[in-house]
């Protein structure tokens, strides 16, 4: 996959923060790494179309999603990206089944609670062992189950790219290690490139092949993720 991003966006007036991100990569698993407030989430939202850059260009796998020079701004629903939110953003008023089927249901009404899911969703229900939870509401799920539901919901739409926004930060330490392994296994199984944002070097190590270091709204460096865990992936040199 190729990802090319060159965007600018001012947030919060003249005294505010300026995002000025340029990155280009052909890696299948990319990480944006940096402290909180560095502009990681803003960059991710711009790729997903949830935040409109002031100017610039975004291209995913050869498809231009945003180009201010040519007036292109593909709406989020047409970008075919999966966005996994930090706290999973499951719909609290819908069951697990309705959540997973959400993106596959057209029209102005939510899927009926008892209607079976289409095959593209059922596949993920089985992969994540969610069959017993289909009639539960998100409030009744554990942290790990919520993440699996959110993944199943995002993957059911057959996206061309998956965006992972701090996917493990809402979990406690023990579960984080387990879910990290699960995500890494998923990345190995599916043919969907991922962009990960995180402030945890352990996530970069396990879930990315190339890391971009972002700070104060700018890319400060990038490089391949070291295979040797002793290497500090936290501070890639450049």
């Amino acid at each position: 996959m190729s990802l090319r991003v060159a965007i600018r966006r001012r947030v919060g007036g003249d005294t505010g923060f300026e995002l000025d991100v340029r990155l280009e990569t052909a890696a299948r698993r990319v990480a944006l790494f940096g402290p909180s407030g560095a502009g990681k989430s803003l960059t991710m939202q711009a790729i997903a179309g949830l935040l409109k850059p002031d100017e610039g260009r975004i291209e995913v796998a050869g498809r231009v999603l945003f180009d201010s020079a040519h007036g292109i701004d593909v709406p989020p629903r047409a970008r075919r990206l999966a966005y996994l939110f930090q706290d999973y953003a499951l719909f609290p008023h819908l069951t697990v089944r309705q959540n997973i089927g959400f993106g596959l249901t057209r029209g102005w009404l939510n899927r009926h609670g008892r209607r079976p899911l289409p095959a593209s969703a059922q596949r993920w229900v089985e992969a994540f062992h969610l069959a017993a939870l289909l009639d539960h509401y998100p409030a009744q799920l554990s942290g790990g189950q919520r993440q699996r539901v959110a993944l199943a919901r995002a993957l059911s739409t057959e996206p061309g790219l998956m965006l992972l926004d701090e996917p493990l930060s809402a979990l406690d330490a023990g579960l984080r290690v387990q879910m990290r392994l699960e995500l890494a296994r998923l990345q190995a199984q599916i043919d969907i490139p991922t962009v990960l944002i995180t402030h945890d070097p352990g996530d970069v190590e396990a879930l990315a092949d190339e890391v971009f270091h972002i700070d104060q709204g700018r890319i400060r460096g990038h490089g391949p993720v070291p295979i040797n865990p002793a290497y500090p992936a936290a501070r890639p040199t450049l």
């Binding site: 949830l50 629903r77 953003a89 609290p92 959400f102 249901t105």
Partner: protein
Amino acid sequence: MSSSVWVPLLLSLKVAAWATLLATVLGVAVAYGLSLWSSRWCDLVDAVLTLPMVLPPTVTGYYLLVLLGRRGWLGPWLADMGIELVFTWQGAVVAASVVAFPMVLKAARAAFLDVDHRLEQAASALGVSPAAVFFRVSLPLASRGILAGVLLAFARALGEFGATLMVAGSIPGRTQTLSIAIYEAVQAGEDGYANFLVLVTSATCIAALCLAAWLTPGAGRLRKARRAP
């Protein structure tokens, strides 16, 4: 007893129901529009639309006459379309819905602001249209707060007096609602009839509130779900 209680009661319920429906559709639409449009003008629009709540009802009624009366701004245009609002029950509906509108607007605005914006973002990232995001995520999550406003609007519409009297008058059987009938009965010294109407009105309001309490368990599930961290 000069007349039956059923005529003003049924008329009041009919007027209040239509007024609540009108106020709900418009109030929810305007509130959602304002929640999407973040600008300093929002509060000005909100203030202007909330005026009927704080203005004396006679002033609201006067504005409506200036706007909708036969020689009003929209009067001739409405007359061309065959719509007659002054001294008709439809006029009473318009008056009651204008007065009840701010109840829905205030409640719906607060309810929409309370909906986690990321859920709406998640919905559009999953590929659904903006209208579907509204009907499938924003509206259901805000429905409990909106319902509270709708019930207040219904109660307010049922009790409407001043603006309705200005616009629709007090024609027995046609525009004389419960609250106006009570006023007329007291003026005419028919204390027995007034007593009876007052009791009927109170019972109707209590019934409406009980109905509301009975309807709310549908939202109980939402309440439970929203307690999630």
